[in-house]
Each structure stands twice: as structure tokens, then as C-alpha cells.
Symmetry: C2
Subunit: 216 residues, 2 copies
Amino acid sequence: MATQTKTVLHGYFRSSCSWRVRIAFALKGIEYDQAPVNLIKDGGQQFTEQYKKINPMQQVPAVEIDGITLSQSLAAIQYIDETRPGPRLLPADPVKRAQVRMISDLIASGIQPLQNVYVLQKVGAEKIQWAQHFIERGFQALEPMLKQTAGKYCVGDEISMADICLVPQVYNAQRYKVDVDQYPTIKRLNQTLLEIDAFQVTHPSRQPDTPVDMRT
Amino acid sequence: MATQTKTVLHGYFRSSCSWRVRIAFALKGIEYDQAPVNLIKDGGQQFTEQYKKINPMQQVPAVEIDGITLSQSLAAIQYIDETRPGPRLLPADPVKRAQVRMISDLIASGIQPLQNVYVLQKVGAEKIQWAQHFIERGFQALEPMLKQTAGKYCVGDEISMADICLVPQVYNAQRYKVDVDQYPTIKRLNQTLLEIDAFQVTHPSRQPDTPVDMRT
């Protein structure tokens, strides 16, 4: 009954956290509607009263699913993993699950929040150097960690939530001119993952709200 | 076999993320050794080569358990929840689990990283106002969210990871002079939770590394 409601992703083509959810949906084969929220236009559509009711944090993504609204990407990803069939996004083994969550949280708590659009707006003129600093700081920790956990993917040989977090963060790193060549494991994993259909069709350059001049 | 290794928490009395793990250990009744890492002394003991091997991110906490090291608090908390007996830290119901994770991540990704000691050091002179801004922004979102999910505790009537995240974040808010009275649900939940033994014995004012003049 609850699963008959339509799944809606409120997101933005260029938001790395929105991209995470799009990848998870694609890997699981979940159909959903996209409700674009333009973070730049009109001073930011996330600040409207209407959107604030959907996500009081005034950020993307927010996922309407099964009659609830989930406004943190990793909570949404783990919810669909626990309630939907399809490939596991977290491994069955508790140690591997913990490693997947550790890598995901290093990115989701340790890097992404510090180069978020609303934080960089507050930083002001120094924002590019600020973003580079925190992404590089994070990648310097992530690289040795991934060297220990990675197989073909971030943790062993199965795609997981860690991979879902990694690729959008590398995209952001490149946007802020971080030299990803310095991190060979991150670089290799990113390249491998970008070959996969679920990462390609959900790419920021190919969304309904992607501006024409940014499409590929 | 693996569980015979000693569990060690590398933490700091005043770190809110370390406190989260201490609460989880206390709720589960897990015995552990504390290995204090003084974030201030000698320029920060987290920057030593020795500690960098334990946590390349050079932050606390890091948990050595079952032969692995977990360096993100929520990954560690969910690992012990999935591998140890005792009260559940995440509810069995998938919707409630998702709400617990959403609230936990709002704090762990949306608030805490922006008022972290190493971020505030980079902010410089404006650091108090910066911390206040991001804590208030987060609490303004958290308050209506908790109004919907809370019973006696953050999500319904069972203590969960969301409560484990809330109390240390309120402690930080008070440290940075945020007026918590503006958030009646947050205030009420914090007061209720601080009555509980697992929150009291793990309080920053009562740890082995708490300076004498900060003890209560």
C-alpha cells in the first residue's frame, strides 16, 4: 500500500548529494520522478516556503517515498537498500558494512559539508582555496584507507554506498581543480565506476535540469 | 576469536563525536579502554605520525575493535549495534531507522563538521559567530523535524542513535552560546536524555582526560 505512492527526488543536477541518490536509484532499478530545485536561480529555490516544508534544512536532496520524506542522502540510500530488492548497496558482512559506512561518512561528513554551496557563499572570496583545502585534506585520508579496503571497488569487489559517495565527490574535486592524479587509488576507482551504466545515466551532465551548455 | 581483542576508544573528553561513541558503548554495556588524544596540547596530538596511522583523517574518535579500526563515529556505532547484544541503537522498523539516520546525519553532516575545531581554526577571528550561525541553521531545521518524529526520545519512545547525536550537539551549542530555549523540542529531549545514566557517566566533565577545573 505505502509503496504505491510515487517516489520523487527533489534534487539539483550538479549537487553531489543528489547524484548519490540518483546512482542508488539506478543501481536498484527504482523508477522515480525528478523535481528539480535550482540552487542558484532566484536566489536559490531551496529557500522558498514551499520547499522548506519538504526539507527544513533547505538543501537537496529530499526524497518522497512510501509516504515519508527523507532529507539526508545516506539515510535515503540505506532506506531503499533495506526496503527494495536488487543488488545490495551495503554488504552483508558487518566488517565490510562498517568499512562502507566509514568511507561514506568520511566523504559525507568529512569533506562534502565543507565545500557545500551555502558554506562557500559564507566563506566569500577565498572559496576556491577553501574548497581545495578541505577536499585535499579528505582525499589524503581517503587514499590510504581505500588502499586497505578496495578491491575492484571501494570495499572489495562489490559496488556499495562507498562507491556511490566517491564518484560525486571526485566530480566536485575536479570542479575545484584538485589534482586527482595525486591519489592513484581514488583515481582508479573513479575511472572504473564511471564505466558503469548507473553512474553514467545519472551524471550531472545528463539530467532534466542540466543547462544546455553543460550537457554531454 | 576476533572479539577477544581489546576495544579501545581514541577520543577527547570534549569532542562531541567521541562522546557519541562513549554513549553507545555505555548503552550497550561494552567495556573499553580510553586512549586520550589531546586536540589542543602540543599543537594537537591528532597530528602525530603515530595517530595518523590509526586515523589518517587525524580526527577523533577512532575505535579499535575486533581487529579493525573504525574512524567515523556513526560507522562505529552501527557496527557495535549490528555485532553486540543489548538495546537496539537503531529501531527494527525501516521507516523509523530511516528517521533515526536522517536526524543523526543532519547533525553529523549538517552541523558538527562546520563547527569542528579544525574548521574553526581555519575560520579565524569570526569563529564564534561562524559556529553559532551553522548550529542555529541546523537547529532551525532539526526542531520541526523532531516535532514530527519524537515521542519520549528523538524517534518515538526508544533511545536511538539520533539521541546519541543530539545530546553532544546541544552541549556544543551551549558552548558556543546558542540559545537552546528557542528550540523547545530539542531542549526537552536533551533534558530527558541527560537524566539517563549512559549519558551522565560519559559526559565530557567526567572523563579520564577531563582537566581538573572542568570536572563536575
